[in-house]
Symmetry: C2
Subunit: 315 residues, 2 copies
Amino acid sequence: SISSSSSTASSMVERSDSEDEMMQGKSIYMVSDGTGWTAEHSVGAALGQFEHCLVDRNCAVNTHLFSGIDDVERLMEIIKQAAKEGAMVVYTLADPAMAESAKQACNVWGIQSTDILSPITEAIAAHLGVSPSGIPRGAPGHSVPLSDEYFKRIEAIEFTIKQDDGALPQNLHKADIVLAGVSRTGKTPLSIYLAQKGYKVANVPIVMGIELPKTLFEVDRRKIFGLTINPFNLQTIRRTRAKTLGFVDTMTGNYSDMDHVRQELETAGKIFAQNPTWPVIEVTGKAIEETAAVLLRLYHDRKQKCSMPRISKRY
Amino acid sequence: SISSSSSTASSMVERSDSEDEMMQGKSIYMVSDGTGWTAEHSVGAALGQFEHCLVDRNCAVNTHLFSGIDDVERLMEIIKQAAKEGAMVVYTLADPAMAESAKQACNVWGIQSTDILSPITEAIAAHLGVSPSGIPRGAPGHSVPLSDEYFKRIEAIEFTIKQDDGALPQNLHKADIVLAGVSRTGKTPLSIYLAQKGYKVANVPIVMGIELPKTLFEVDRRKIFGLTINPFNLQTIRRTRAKTLGFVDTMTGNYSDMDHVRQELETAGKIFAQNPTWPVIEVTGKAIEETAAVLLRLYHDRKQKCSMPRISKRY
Ligand SMILES: Nc1ncnc2c1ncn2[C@@H]1O[C@H](COP(=O)(O)O)[C@@H](O)[C@H]1O
Ligand SMILES: Nc1ncnc2c1ncn2[C@@H]1O[C@H](COP(=O)(O)O)[C@@H](O)[C@H]1O
Ligand SMILES: [Mg+2]
Ligand SMILES: [Mg+2]
């Protein structure tokens, strides 16, 4: 599944708002004094470890996210409700007293609980030799500074939207990363995922019979990445796409026809062979964030030439 | 800071690829058999607890992300390197033997370490009464299914891109969420953030002297949200924006002029007052993911009418 990295379990089958549907299956309560996305992301990753039983619906799981919980009264209400529902509780609470209250209340009610934030915060505190603030992100007076990073990310997103689907090829030199691949290799969602991380991305479709923009061969080659995919997967994706768009079979022409799919992938393969400096990433069976991880590892490794491939950041 | 939820510390000041710059400050190694985004996200949130010392650069922190680490040899190499650099190690390793090796090696080398995945996985296992698979997401044969969820998210992203900045107002009825606000209230990055979570979002700019699209008043009101911001913050953002675009002061006209900014916000305020069913969200000092959290809480609460506001999902 694609994910904004806050929900990575590919077994997530639907978003449901109805309380009825929530009656079956086990519940996980996620409680945060902030947005709750950290808890959601961690739970999503952990649920990946239970896919064998989630996909066949043997164990249905419902998650419930409670964000902005910064007073002990609401915290206690939620834990009481969790106990009623037989839910477990996962929490991120910056105030150590709140975290302790959550832990003890869960013990009292006899329910499973996990503190996502404290262990990592305490380890970092010991490592830095500095005490954590204990102040939640949403606390009064605690606002987000309008940093360079903030503006850089917004700019990356706006740039990437404008460059989607081969638009404005004259701007390719301004991109940090350029993606090339046939239709439905996930160029757009991958571009957006990378843009959220602060990279300016342009994507260029490879279409049979249409020439690639000249600028693609003029820009720094080290920022260009090819995407490729297994023809059977591509066909499935294209058929679903055609259905979504409401096309009937005769309208799609040969877009999802297997011979056509193969030919188009061959054309792309030839272009990639002619440009051996472009790394070609296989996207078959990968979630968008997995392709992003592979791409960024290559991208940073090329620039960095460290002993071990890594993505480094400064805080 | 904006973040694709994999980096939430607003103190992140730059992405750096140079090893020189990494010499100062303490290092945090993040190791995953998957993408590493879960570890990065958790570390980002935890670093938020050290902003008091990060912002004044008293404690510079460098993070190093090692993804796709699924054999014990590379794991040991990385931990050895961490010991050399005096780094701490944060890891997510699905295979319990790998996690145990990481723990013991860090103990042997005398370095801080935190296991992000095991505690939550073990708690969920106890809760569900099911054993975790122990198989990393990238393992051979372990591929992402082309689920409805997968296609739904891609569609949401593509829809949202096409609807940016008031485009195609005839499609507003197809959106899950519609955002209205003056220029630079963060409509575009917020739209994209929500799209990544699977919501089809359209955003409509409020510009003085330009009429809002009729369709905005024809669609289900419960999906429309207004965005508002403090005029001083808006001015700062607009000035930075103008600089980024390379405008000189005379070119920007009154775009970032305080009187103009105030007038425009007043216009927006009047529109919001005329449409009292639209919740108005204050974005001043909020990161994009914080605004998203507030908005989605309201959105789900309206549809759900649970006893306690929550965002529920089915896995
Ligand atoms: N920038 C920040 N400053 C302080 N605390 C933060 C920051 N970002 C995240 N946190 C804390 O980390 C936990 C997870 O945040 P969230 O993902 O917003 O739920 C919460 O307890 C937040 O209060
Ligand atoms: N869909 C999944 N199936 C199995 N394991 C997963 C899945 N998603 C995440 N994980 C595991 O959760 C941890 C964090 O994943 P990542 O965020 O990709 O580094 C890693 O140990 C992954 O192997
Ligand atoms: Mg596309
Ligand atoms: Mg915009």
